[in-house]
Symmetry: C2
Subunit: 259 residues, 2 copies
Amino acid sequence: MRMDLDKQLNGSVQKAFLLLEAFTLDKPEWGVSELARSLGANKSTIYRLLATLEKLGVLQQNRRSEKYRLGLKLFELGHRVSIHQAVVHCTHPVLEEVARAIAETVHLAILEGTHIRYLDKVESPQGLKISTEIGSLRPAHCTGLGKMLLACADSEQQQAVLDATPLFAQTANTIVSAAALRRELAEIRERSFALDREEYEIGLICVAVPIFNQQGDLVAGLSASGPANRFREEALPHYVSILKRGAEKIREGIGNFQL
Amino acid sequence: MRMDLDKQLNGSVQKAFLLLEAFTLDKPEWGVSELARSLGANKSTIYRLLATLEKLGVLQQNRRSEKYRLGLKLFELGHRVSIHQAVVHCTHPVLEEVARAIAETVHLAILEGTHIRYLDKVESPQGLKISTEIGSLRPAHCTGLGKMLLACADSEQQQAVLDATPLFAQTANTIVSAAALRRELAEIRERSFALDREEYEIGLICVAVPIFNQQGDLVAGLSASGPANRFREEALPHYVSILKRGAEKIREGIGNFQL
DNA sequence: AAACGCTGTTTCATTATTCAAAACACTCAG
DNA sequence: CTGAGTGTTTTGAATAATGAAACAGCGTTT
């Protein structure tokens, strides 16, 4: 495998997880040969890795097609992750309330380096849905949640994003310069909510607020997203107030939990 | 490590996942030494495995305590598992409805060999909760869901359980003989719901029904569980009818989905 | 039918990696 | 200061992963 593996660390384990990364929602099934080709690795290596992971329940093999897909062991381990236990368990009901009140898709996310990670999601009851996936990452600089979380983060974390300027222009509206992003973050901190006006995807608007714990530490972000044509400027205060009430409710239930 | 590893298969990967198994909800944090001791393995082996898994995001290290816990990569991979996507996503709202209607904890589970695996759960609004974990396994022969799923399963799967007789007596009420279990399964098939009368845990009662897809294949099981002292015999038909309505609703939404 | 292209699987010698024991660095308690 | 507990790094020895090639199957094409 011509993957860059760190010396000192266990290469097989790294390979195994790099291999698991190939199983995305877009391509959930892989055969031995195609996967070996795609990873630039030897067939027998992949074959043995797949066989090992299948025996462990990490992958499961489709009898008919002989192809592999992610197995229930990962499902099990994923649910043991403490962040899931601690946060999502007690925040999900609030997300649902907010989603009902706003009638748009609601997300819960945290900052992870220069990206945000979606921890939970409740979809809009309306037809038009947003194609996010729980557990996945998105750049912080071009999402409402990302900018909100950055605005509340310490300067070290902000710098990590600003260092990467010019930032990747996801759409024509994406903020790409460090100066502009700095101004934007200051403004967000000021009014304590963030807006994403089609900065990640044309046609997609998002409003985000921060969630603090009872010690005042930033825990996560809460947002409502919907199609731009459904979004009315005058309704913004309404959205923000519902989101803020949700964040407050989570704060009450979450105690002194920290990331 | 004196773990039994299959020859031919990648040992490091097997070790890595055996190691991950140690991170349970009861003991979510491990240091290098204690984990090595607990697994009967060498410290440096565990050290490098932990370091590798941490670099991959599979584990994360607590700065203060230097201990490790499960990381967000597993959270992410867990949410990519297709069963989660396909089933839980569209069944969760129904579980909530049922939980509201019955006011007891509701579970969704599938049969996996001789055990059931909990895919989803909505807890009772009442104080007394059941200590199940999403993703975890329980023996099929002594749970309502397990007996229900077994009753609908093919004889091969039933035999796998019956072969293990005398079955493990979880409580004094557990069915332990093959003949008795066979009779029980026949009766369950007859009336198309299963009861667990404190067969897994004293004080715990459970009612379960099957969920079929539109082709009539068994997909999963749906159950309501609660403390025995809250359970009234005459309310049973009421519980069953609510569960059955839930199962029917899922059937409508699930199309021809198969395990 | 036979040759082809495509699977997944197995073999085997070479190589590189992982291993375990011990030493090291550090913290905390007595 | 000593001792027992951490996590980390180093060692040579031994194990285990590796890739090329051969194999076995299954359809399609020639």
